[in-house]
Symmetry: C2
Subunit: 393 residues, 2 copies
């Protein structure tokens, strides 16, 4: 099928989403058969306005530098296209003779990909649409893990490693708020900092279980009695037993995006709320809270090498499957082949298998609603690769 | 002079303060003449209780792992000893035949070192006391820069590099609060992220100049009009023209440490206050704030190599000068010898030259109260060493 290809990057940035972009571009060049390679400037929002960046002849050395740069080089968008929006996208595709659409994003983005493809099919326009997985939340079903997660997990692990030694040096209660709306994978990565007996985090709270303020304070009191200090990892998505996010309960005004998601990041409110709660209930003196914020998803120069390679391969695999012509659409998933040595492969799955679904932490990893099982390290360490080793007297 | 040596680590941790500790230990072993090498567990607080860790025979391979571990391995303290406290310290020193005291810390800590030494002199007890510089704030006078600062600056630079690309991908107003009570050196390090025209941070506010809310909002509006996005670096120590910290003005309760310092870190309050201010005054929609918090001073695995080497050398130099026997006390300062290739040396200065004084950013670096001059990069880059390069289409 002759025509042009459009690539888009959607949703929250990661430090390896540009690896996937470059993977798509270089495989398209290698396979051939596409006239122009167009980048959608700010994802669907750009497509709607025919705002494209011509990537056909970008030199390989520039692409390699782009691959190592954090966040979506094409620009991203939080738009959630409805039927009308998708019709407009298909019109623009037809005007520009776009026959291949590669959309790099999370589950909201895979859903967008699906709707655009269905809209094209309805109007009888031949379009091949492939979703390339990406999310630091690691919450895509059918994926052993998602590109972006291992690097974000590495950041969280090394942040907790440092902060645990900081907390040991100047003892007190320290609460760190980690990204993760529905899934606790990123917060659970903090367990990698627990390298010797007594090292923190001493408590880990994830959104997979209901959060109780009284229990939270009692847990901290127990650790303080035992160790004289307490390092706590809390997911930003913690909620009560009815599912109401703590962040919503305490925020004066609640901001929502186009997908109906409440704003959790970009504010220190939840951390400060929890610190004040502990100060008040326990009468504790030295209580501090840090919110890791956007650094988790975009910090430059700290990517996991496995993550970089897999993100590139996922982009390449999407092109391979698209060009085979067997299916008009699909998504790429990462499967783990072996642990030692670590090996993975990219496979094609149906978009409907991954769209608008959320994977959460397996119950076996969530201990007593306040900790993560050490076996989670076996899952995570091969993805994160080498991390430093903390020593103590 | 025969006897034992005590080493202490004081104040806020850094990622290279253990390099200085190891530098002191290994030079003491090399030079000889000291019976026992004792680590003060939690600095002066430990000394007062005769709480020592025997470091005399710790194997070198363990010391090398300690050197690479963030934060004070001996434990730190925020205590500011008064006359009575110092008398107690001297008594403990006498009981333990301690003749050499090495204290690694910032300007509050050098002052402690001075008082302990004076107290010993008054009672006629022979004691050699040396201060080893350390602070991520980079605010010690007579030092070109201080151990700990280059690594923290590297963290801040790479954080802004990623966050700038994040902000370009999903445009809006983003405010990042950086550590620095009186000096803007660490906030100024964000300028390293500005690698290509248009890259942020677009505005940088340091405590060297008075902060005005109206002006702040007008500055952001100007950048938004020009670029459609705005990345802002704000020092936690910003204050009004009368010197009242913004953090104090908005906090309901103000927490102070033993040195009379108001708590600035470990809370997202200032960032959230500024974000709400901008939202309200400009009617801006997407406004986010992150507070980098303790990660800046303790993040594992991201130290500057120059910083690691100089912190080690500073510890070694303190021992060399102490053992010469020419002065009963002193402090070590880092002097820059040349820029290209970068070279530095450690020199002895008087404790009174550095104690209880604060160095701030040279006026030539502070542009119009809202930016940092590009020439600051010439000062900083040799210290930080290699950082990644961001690319854009």
């Amino acid at each position: 099928m002759s025509g042009n290809a459009v690539i888009g990057q959607s949703g929250g940035p990661t430090v390896v989403i540009n690896q996937s972009l470059v993977g798509v571009i270089e495989k398209l060049r290698e396979v051939g058969g596409v006239d122009k390679i167009l980048g959608a400037h700010h994802a669907v929002a750009g497509i709607k306005k025919s705002d494209f960046i011509d990537l056909t002849d970008v030199p390989q050395d520039k692409l390699e530098r782009i691959a190592l740069t954090p966040a979506a080089a094409l620009g991203s968008s939080r738009d959630k296209p409805d039927a009308e929006y998708c019709k407009k996208i298909c019109e623009v595709f037809e005007q520009n003779n776009v026959r291949y659409f590669f959309y790099i994003g999370g589950n909201d983005s895979s859903d967008t990909c699906r709707i655009v493809n269905e809209t094209a099919q309805k109007t009888g326009y031949d379009l091949v649409a492939y979703h390339v997985p990406k999310t630091i939340d690691n919450d895509l079903v059918r994926n052993d893990h998602t590109p972006g997660y291992p690097s974000a997990a590495k950041f969280v692990a090394q942040a907790f490693m440092g902060d645990d030694r900081d907390n040991a040096a100047l003892p007190g209660i320290k609460i760190n708020v980690v990204m993760g709306r529905h899934a606790g994978f990123l917060t659970a990565a903090s367990v990698l900092a627990r390298q010797k007996d007594g090292m923190g985090p001493h408590l880990i709270y994830v959104p997979e279980v209901g959060f109780d303020e009284e229990r939270f304070c009692a847990d901290i009191e127990e650790v303080m009695t035992k160790r004289g200090r307490c390092l706590v990892a809390v997911s930003e998505g913690i909620h009560d037993d009815e599912g109401t996010p703590m962040a919503t309960k305490m925020a004066k005004t609640v901001e929502k995006d186009a997908h109906g998601n409440v704003q959790l990041s970009g504010s220190g409110a939840l951390g400060d709320f929890l610190a004040n709660l502990v100060k008040t209930k326990l009468g504790a003196k030295r209580v501090r809270a840090d919110t890791f914020g956007y650094l988790q998803r975009s910090f430059a120069g700290l990517a996991s090498e496995v993550d970089q390679a897999e993100a590139r391969q996922a982009g390449q695999a999407a092109v391979e499957h698209a060009m085979k012509g067997e299916h008009p659409h699909g998504s790429i998933a990462i499967e783990r082949v072996s642990d030692s040595p670590y090996q993975s492969r990219c496979v094609r799955i149906e978009i409907s298998d991954v769209a608008a679904q959320t994977k959460t932490l397996d119950k076996k990893y969530v201990l007593d609603g306040r900790d993560i099982d050490p076996s989670f390290k076996d899952y995570l360490l091969p993805l994160v690769g080498s991390i430093p080793t903390n020593e103590s007297f």
